[in-house]
Amino acid sequence: MKYADEFRDKEIALGLARAIQAEANPKRPYRFMEFCGGHTHAISRYGLEDMLPQNVRMIHGPGCPVCVLPAGRIDMAIRLAERPEVILCVYGDLMRVPGSQGGSLLRAKARGADIRMVYSTIDAIRIAEENPGREVVFFAIGFETTTPPTAVMIRIAERKQLENFSVFCNHVLTPPAMLNILESPDIRNIGRVEIDGFVGPAHVSIIIGTAPYEFFSEEFGKPVVIAGFEPLDMMQAILMLVRQVNEHRHEVENQYRRAVSRDGNLRAKEEVSDIFELRDRFEWRGLGLVPYSGLKLKRTYAKYDAEVRFEMNELKIADNPACECGAILRGVKKPVDCKLFGTVCTPETPMGSCMVSSEGACAAHWTYGRFRDHQQRRAS
């Protein structure tokens, strides 16, 4: 595939690895957090960590929208789907995410709830048109990348005067979560990771641009390099971060220039700001309540807001105490630190959200990383 295969060349990857090896100062650690789950997935899939010197470490961040969705929101969706008039449309990744008491959308569907997996918001519109006697609700989830498609869908619903259509909105924002990782007050309980720089998200940045990260580099003195999702993109970004650290720079650099600009996609940003506004706070699995980190529909669009339309009650549910997703999403622990990893908790029977989505740290490590653990054990 053009614009993918060229960025997977093994010889170049090895060359970049040698450059990182040569330039990283062996006397100091380099701890870089990749915020985005897509990067976590790529790192595991291509075994990039094996190509890095010992002192250059990648820390997996909370950038997987499925993983950070708290169990309470899943339970709210299940309750909604159990209403006989409702058809709930969801992205497939959500089906297995555990709610409370072993519940999930998949189980609710098996019990008879009308839950339909969709690939795109366009499909949800079509289902609403085909079922005028039913209430079609779209379970909207995702970071800045996925919000514009939800906005466009609401616009289309308005234009088509769909009266049986609404959205259960769970869209969240990247910069407030990054801020939370660096300065949250409850860090004392869960511990803090030292971070020397960020690999900035690829597709989120397509929409919001590089400008929103300038605050971090200035305020916290941390370098940020926006990187594409292919292995060469990641390796080049890591080299750029090593160089910034060595030169005591903390700037926003853009490795993914072929798709990301400073201002992002203006049209998409406009659609989003027309339809959504900030929530005062939103709960994240692992991070707790994060101020101004989630979106809801503006009051003018209240009739499309499922939370208003169905008077949905906020549900708070404590996470499974044995699941370490919270600490993993903060980068404080690794999947193998969890007692349930690979025994009780697997992608087939996930106990926590990090095991559900292929972008979750636990699922990525389960699929691609176990070999490495094994090899390392044998080597040591």
Partner: protein, 77 residues
């Protein structure tokens, strides 16, 4: 969830829709988020929407920089 892939635009349809080719497979997507999409453009597709055009010159420049690392390696051998 955040998966997105490059694809080539092969047809423009009415109502802000378009057809793209992903490794030879055709798929209908929404072009509502991009102005003046044209046949032959490469775009990044996510949940059925084109998010942005890929800039061919920037892509080439990035690759050019990357290739130097391969040559460097060969020279060192």
């Amino acid at each position: 969830m955040c998966l997105a892939i490059p694809a080539r635009v092969t047809r423009i349809l009415p109502d802000d829709m378009a057809v793209v080719s992903i490794d030879g497979v055709s798929k209908e997507i929404s072009a509502a988020l991009i102005e003046n999409l044209a046949v032959g453009d490469y775009v990044i597709i996510h949940v059925g929407y084109a998010l942005t055009r890929i800039d061919p010159d920037e892509a080439e420049r990035t690759l050019e920089m990357m290739r130097e690392f391969r040559e460097g390696q060969e020279a060192a051998q």
